[in-house]
Amino acid sequence: MATIEERQQEIISEFSMFDDWMQKYEYIIELGKDLPLLEEEKKSDDLLIKGCQSRVWLHADYANDGTIHFKADSDAIITKGLVSLVIRVLDGMPAKEIAQSDLHFVNDIGLSSHLSPTRSNGLASMIKQMKIYGLAKM
């Protein structure tokens, strides 16, 4: 199975093929549209991660082998696309690795503004929450 780092490199190389921001966003939007990540009835308030801008619902399943499986969704499509990339990177990884991960790919693919903790969007809060889930089972 690919490591967190390998998965990030995969995404980075995928994005390196795009010439401009427009193509990148088109791809992210497509990812966001393609992936209805969470059933409507699961979007309960206790799964809700509130950013000032977009909301994210995050669901975590702990497996017996110490790995964590995530499902998530967002009301904003760009956030949703990015969410699907983050899930792709962290889903099914061991708790400890999730807790210690450095999700540099969002920066590397040129979308750093979505990751900055000073931005009030849901993505940054979601990544933080995923690490907390990881920490809890370390």
Binding site: W21, M22, Y25, I29, C52, Q53, S54, I77, I78, S120
Partner: protein
């Protein structure tokens, strides 16, 4: 600037834009189109220069100094108070209190006036259009005192619904705190009606003017409100400075707010006496730099031709409304006939954050989200809007760029 000139709008605007170097830059490979003026305005060179002149020439702490620099700084500082008194049309400079912003001004009144005058069962009236800064301080006061915050409802157009005014303003009403212009929708509110109504029951009135003063002239004496406040940073001035206008007799009867240097007359451990207004409410070293620069901002604002500002902003609003309305699925929130140059909108099935992000990548700076008016967004049942707010230095071409960028963003997101 004569009326003649103001007909040739584009020329006048071009000249104006020279005063704002920040506007002449590229963002994400596109020329910057700054349409986030309701969040904060850009600053003309004269304001930036006044800061530089202060720090390079006569920086000193004020009021208590006996030396040359302190005298220069004190005079420049107090000159702003004088300018603001003229700007708001009060003959009494003691009615001008410097704060750190609109939020600070409102909290000052909610605490220094409110805690003395609002009691259990009393009512505080705000409107559904208020900014959080004009809601939360009153909720905090109401919670402490066991008072009630009541809310003026709105019509679908985003105007106050004053049908039940007689009931909303009643003998229990102690203060009415409403904005002059809604920051989320742009509605210009008929505050005169409320002020008249307040007089009937002896309630005080605080007007949140954060969004008004940059668009039109305000005369606090003609309005006859008790308090009026706004921030410098939305009026070409620096951040960290605000004003609270208050009627002298009301201010004089108020308890102090912050304790410290400057606001006292004598301090002793056996008892302290407070200074006169306005100093009673200005504890500690003020934002000297900011207040001096605020003076330059007022000079800039008053140097603009009033007719030009009105007609140009009106034209921007009209043109933008026309263009945006033509976009399928786009809904404008706030459709009053009395609006400043602000347009809030949503596009069917598209989250405002997605739109804002894709506009930013095309150089267009708008604000998205709840605009610190969550109760209003909840009322409309929406997560927020995209808000384009225009200043006198914006152009018709920039609205075309907004329009084109919007079409592109929508085509990507749909």
């Amino acid at each position: 600037m004569t009326t003649q000139d103001s007909i040739i709008l584009p020329k006048a605007v071009d000249k104006l834009r020279d005063e704002f170097p920040i506007l002449h830059q590229e963002v994400n490979g596109h020329p910057l189109v700054y349409l986030d003026n309701a969040a904060t305005s850009q600053k003309p060179l004269s304001v930036v220069e006044s800061i530089t002149n202060y720090y390079l020439g006569y920086n000193a702490n004020i009021h208590r100094g006996v030396h040359h620099l302190a005298n220069l700084a004190t005079e420049a500082f107090e000159k702003t108070r004088k300018k603001l008194a003229a700007f708001l049309n009060t003959p009494d400079q003691r009615e001008i209190i410097f704060t750190s912003g609109t939020t600070d001004s409102i909290n000052l009144v909610a605490q220094a006036w409110g805690r003395m005058n609002v009691h259990s069962g009393d009512e505080i009236l705000v409107s559904m259009l208020e900014h959080h800064s004009n809601i939360v301080p009153w909720q905090m006061l109401a919670q402490e005192k066991g008072a009630v915050v009541r809310v003026i409802p709105i019509t679908p157009k985003g105007e106050w619904d004053l049908t039940d005014l007689n009931q909303l303003v009643n003998a229990k009403t102690k203060i009415i705190a409403v904005n002059h212009v809604s920051n989320a929708l742009g509605t210009i509110n008929p505050i005169e009606i409320l002020i008249a109504e307040a007089k009937k029951v002896g309630a005080k009135v605080l007007i949140d003017g954060a969004q008004s003063v940059v668009h039109f002239e305000v005369d606090v004496k003609a309005l006859d409100c008790d308090f009026y406040c706004f921030s410098a940073h939305k009026l070409y001035g620096p951040t960290g400075v605000g004003v609270l206008y208050g009627k002298a007799e009301v201010l004089e009867a108020m308890a102090p707010y912050r304790g410290g240097g400057e606001m006292i007359h004598t301090v002793s451990f056996s008892g302290t006496t407070y200074n006169e207004i306005p100093h009673k409410f200005e504890a500690g070293t003020p934002n000297i730099e900011g207040i001096i620069a605020f003076g330059a901002a007022i000079d800039f604002a008053t140097s603009l031709d009033k007719d030009f500002v009105q007609s140009h902003e009106h034209e921007l609003l009209r043109y933008a409304t026309e263009k945006l309305s033509s976009i399928e699925g786009l809904k404008i929130y706030g459709e009053s006939e009395n609006k400043v140059s602000v347009i809030s909108f949503l596009v069917d099935g598209i989250h405002p954050y997605d739109l804002g992000t894709l506009l930013d990548h095309q150089g267009i700076a708008v604000r998205t989200g709840h605009h610190c008016t969550q109760p209003l967004m909840e009322h409309f049942g929406i997560p927020g809007t995209v808000r384009a707010s225009f200043a006198v230095y914006n152009t018709i071409e920039e609205i075309d760029m907004l329009y084109n960028a919007l079409l592109k963003a929508i085509s990507m997101l749909k």
